[in-house]
């Protein structure tokens, strides 16, 4: 199959020059590499410009509600482990309204690949600040500027135990293709942070400017070293590549099993006992 075979007939609604086009392309190329049949593929999103992407991907696609793609993907993957399950979305969808789900998806380590198209702005609602809008953000419209520090998504997912963390840029297609491909290959929860421009609500050159602030991780970088990954995540410049890849111990089946009898149940064991029985039984 070719990349275009993973496309539906729908024309994207994105602005000309939008970074999301690059991600759609990189994603479909990665699917070609992995030879995933469309009927075995689910692409799930919440709401936002980038959340339109599932509609353009030949798959069992789901354009759900704002911020809630991860729970939906979790339910699907746990009940249908043979379906390759991808989540895509933007920085507002994933790091603002939907952030509460992210650490838990990471904790459960269900085999989902979550690709965030981060353009540091709310595009669909016309230019409000997002959790990754930078303090020195130069707006093209007259909305009030943010005075809050942006959050660092890569540092966040590393700190919550994500087993696979990569970063790429929407303008570097070969790199993006590789990152998404490797993330899908990873048998556990994987996270790909993609820097993307917004030509309308950031400056038209924002995508390029961001790219100037990127470095590809050096040769010999050890992606199994969490400390190195955290250091790379804290760098002033954006480090591109597989920042962290933990040795996967739990595959898809393991994840299902884990969710069925998660350790948390130990605290609730013996459910047919009355609530006050404990004192006399111990």
């Amino acid at each position: 199959m070719k990349a275009k075979d993973y496309r539906t007939t729908l024309e994207p609604v994105w602005c000309t020059g939008c970074g999301d086009f690059g991600v759609l392309k990189g994603l479909t190329q990665a699917l070609v590499d992995l030879e995933i049949p469309p009927e075995r593929l689910a692409v799930i999103s919440g709401i936002g410009c980038s959340s339109r992407l599932p509609g353009y991907t030949r798959s069992y696609a789901f354009n759900s509600i704002h911020g809630r793609a991860l729970p939906i993907a979790t339910g699907l993957k746990l009940s249908r482990p043979e379906i390759t399950t991808l989540v895509v979305g933007g920085d507002g969808d994933g790091f603002s309204i939907g952030l509460g789900h992210l650490p838990h998806a990471i904790r459960r380590d269900v085999d989902i690949t979550y690709t965030v198209l981060d353009n540091g702005i709310y595009g669909l609602t016309k230019g409000q600040s997002s959790p990754t809008t930078e303090i020195d953000f130069k707006r093209s419209r007259g909305l009030a500027g943010p005075d809050e520090r942006p959050l660092n998504p890569v540092l966040l997912v590393l700190s919550t135990g994500c087993g696979f963390v990569a970063r790429s840029h929407a303008g570097n297609l070969p790199h993006l293709r590789e990152m998404i491909r490797e993330a899908i290959r990873y048998p556990g929860f994987s996270f790909v942070h993609v820097l993307a421009g917004c030509v309308t609500y950031q400056t038209p050159s924002y995508g390029q400017e961001i790219y100037q602030r990127c470095d590809v991780l050096p040769q010999g970088y050890d992606s199994s070293n969490l400390t190195a990954a955290i250091e790379a995540a804290r760098s002033d410049r954006f480090q591109l590549g597989i920042l962290y890849r933990r040795d996967p111990k739990i595959g898809t089946e393991g994840a299902v099993e884990m969710a069925g009898v998660a350790g948390v149940w130990k605290a609730h064991a013996g459910t047919d006992r009355g609530i006050e029985d404990v004192a006399h039984e111990e």
Partner: protein, 589 residues
């Protein structure tokens, strides 16, 4: 199962008042750690083993754990769904603990009262008085006037109550064995305490109650939450996600034990939004799925309910109602989520709402919920409440039809687009991931027949028509989903729903001038049946537990019931017959 053949209390100087009776109510009160809940549970199991029916409810403080605890246990020769009006046996380890349960104990002249020997306090006025002498027993172990840990009080109480009820000690030992067979140390400690007290009981002669034989045919006890969980499993449930919340948590806890062995998954989600999201995700994958929650969780799930209906993905949502709003009274019952279940959510979308009558009904109503949800590809809400959810009720052995509900599934070459508007009853074949050539876009955004986003008002109207055709079809399918009680010619009518079934069954038995209509499906409402039922009524009362009278107002929007009287109050303790009598008299005046 062994029937209680002979008495184990040989003494002859005790009189058993009343002769053979139909039911007995026991109130067991103690502090946290006294094991009152376990005591009630053991007694209920013993009743079931003897072929007696009954039910047990527990009362906690607002914090659920710790503090005082009371158990009301009613054993009966017929099925009961109501805890009864009067207390036949009161057993209280510490009178100070009784304070918080005002109204829960109501003695009559022949009640047996068992209190702590060293407790010098008197019964409070509100309990009423028994003409029989109070029996005092040294449950507490004292050293220098201070209570220290001694033998388990609940085991002593079990021995005494065996004597009071004339239940065989062998049955108690057997029940303890079942309960603690997997923990031999706990078992032997409890058995030792039981035997010691049992020997004493035969000498000290606690008050006796009427002899009360069961059929000897073993019965089965479960809680409303267990019945919901097991009914769902039998109806094809294979994925559950939930978030802990009183009074629904035991649905998830039961499923954690019982669903994974059948190949299903259970997830404790990070919140209720996620819980319903996971359910929708699993169901998008073609797997029957549900969640269970209580009011606050249902509030969080509201946006997801709309998604389920809009994207036409089946989902079953159980709401064990508690007293609201906000945090409300988590352990107390109420019927005030009716508006929310029927109306909540932005925009127009179809859903169905069912009500649970009692523990036995919980299993069959789950089957109906899955049937509707899978058949019509929309959210179905099942309204239970704390009174059913937390009650342990004895029932006949289950004969379950393990029959998966039917979802119309698309296959290659079948034709219609995922959201084809021409489908019968608005239902189009569901495209399950994995099916070649079936890929499509499911969306919460308005979409055309293929699933592609649209902002066309004409399509929006057409799609609403398609989705709401399902509701019309459901109305046809469910027009006989209701129960009636009493004689069809009785002049006074009551409409009620959910757990009011229990008290009304008994009310009608002793008040033949009443007939009762109880919808099993609340939305769409079985209006035709209701109109037929209420012909020639002299007056009509709507009995519910909601400050606003939500059922009353809801019905007012469906038909002309301008003469109906509202018999309602806020949630809290369940209605008692005496209160119902007063409220009905006031309303019907």
């Amino acid at each position: 199962m062994t029937a209680p053949a002979t008495s184990t209390t040989p003494e002859s100087n005790r009189s058993r008042p009343g002769g053979e009776t139909q039911s007995l109510v026991l109130a067991l009160v103690g502090s946290g750690g006294d094991g009152v809940a376990l005591l009630g549970d053991l007694l209920l199991r013993m009743a079931a083993q003897q072929g007696l029916y009954g039910m047990m409810v527990q009362s906690y403080g607002p914090q659920i754990r710790g503090g005082e605890s009371a158990v009301i246990l009613r054993v009966s020769r017929a099925e009961v769904q109501y805890e009864g009006d009067q207390t036949d046996v009161l057993l209280c380890f510490r009178l100070a603990d009784l304070k918080r349960f005002q109204g829960a104990v109501k003695l009559h002249p022949e009640s047996a009262v068992i209190l702590e020997q060293t407790d010098t306090a008197e019964l409070p006025e509100w309990t009423g008085r028994s003409d029989r002498e109070t029996f005092r027993y040294p449950f507490a172990k004292l050293e220098n006037g201070i209570e220290v840990v001694g033998d388990p009080k609940n085991m002593m109480a079990l021995a005494l109550l065996c004597s009071v009820l004339d239940w065989p000690a062998s049955l108690a030992r057997e029940t303890l064995g079942h309960r603690f067979g997997h923990r031999p140390e706990v078992l032997s400690k409890n058995l030792a305490a039981f035997d010691k007290a049992h020997n004493q009981a035969t000498q000290t002669a606690p008050p006796a109650m009427p002899i009360f034989p069961g059929t000897g045919k073993g019965l089965f006890a479960e809680t409303g939450n267990e019945a919901v969980a097991r009914g769902a499993i039998a109806s094809g449930l294979r994925f559950f996600a939930g978030y802990p919340i009183t009074p629904s948590s035991e649905v998830m806890e039961t499923l954690v034990e019982e669903l994974p062995p059948l190949g299903g998954s259970v997830v404790q989600a990070e919140d209720e939004i996620s819980a319903l999201g996971m359910v929708i995700g699993a169901s998008f994958g073609g797997v029957p799925a549900m969640t269970a929650t209580s009011g606050p969780g249902l509030s969080l799930m509201t946006e997801m309910m709309g998604l389920s209906s809009m994207a036409e993905i089946p989902a079953v949502i159980v709401d064990c109602q508690r007293a609201g709003p906000a945090t409300g009274m988590p352990s107390r019952t109420e019927q005030a989520d009716l508006y929310h279940a029927i109306y909540a959510g932005h925009g127009d979308f179809p859903r169905a709402v069912l009500g649970v009558f009692d523990v036995v009904h919980a299993r069959s109503v789950m089957y109906k919920a899955f049937h509707l949800s899978e058949r019509y590809q929309l959210p179905v809400l099942v309204l239970s409440d704390a009174y059913i959810a937390q009650r342990r009720q004895i029932r006949d052995p289950v004969t379950e039809r393990r029959e998966a509900p039917h979802r119309d599934v698309w296959s290659p070459g079948m034709g219609p687009a995922r959201f084809d508007i021409g489908g019968e009853h608005g239902v189009t074949p569901f495209r399950v991931p994995g099916s070649p050539e079936g890929t499509y876009l499911a969306a919460g955004i308005e979409h055309n027949q293929e699933g592609n986003p649209t902002a066309d008002g004409t399509i929006h109207q057409q799609m609403n028509q398609k989705r709401f055709r399902k509701l019309g079809a459901i109305e046809q399918d469910t027009k006989d989903w209701f129960r009636t009680l009493g004689a069809p010619s009785a002049p006074l009518g009551i409409v009620a729903w959910g757990s009011q079934y229990g008290i009304l069954r008994e009310w009608v038995a002793s008040h033949p001038e009443y007939r009762v209509f109880l919808p099993e499906i609340l939305h769409p409402y079985p209006l035709g049946a209701f109109e037929a039922w209420r012909k020639n009524l002299k007056s009509l009362a709507i009995v519910e537990m909601s400050f606003q009278g939500q059922l009353h107002h809801y019905l007012s929007g469906l038909t002309d019931i301008r003469d109906a009287r509202s018999v309602t109050r806020s949630g809290g303790p369940p209605l008692k017959t005496s209160e119902l009598k007063r409220l009905l008299e006031e309303a019907m005046r």
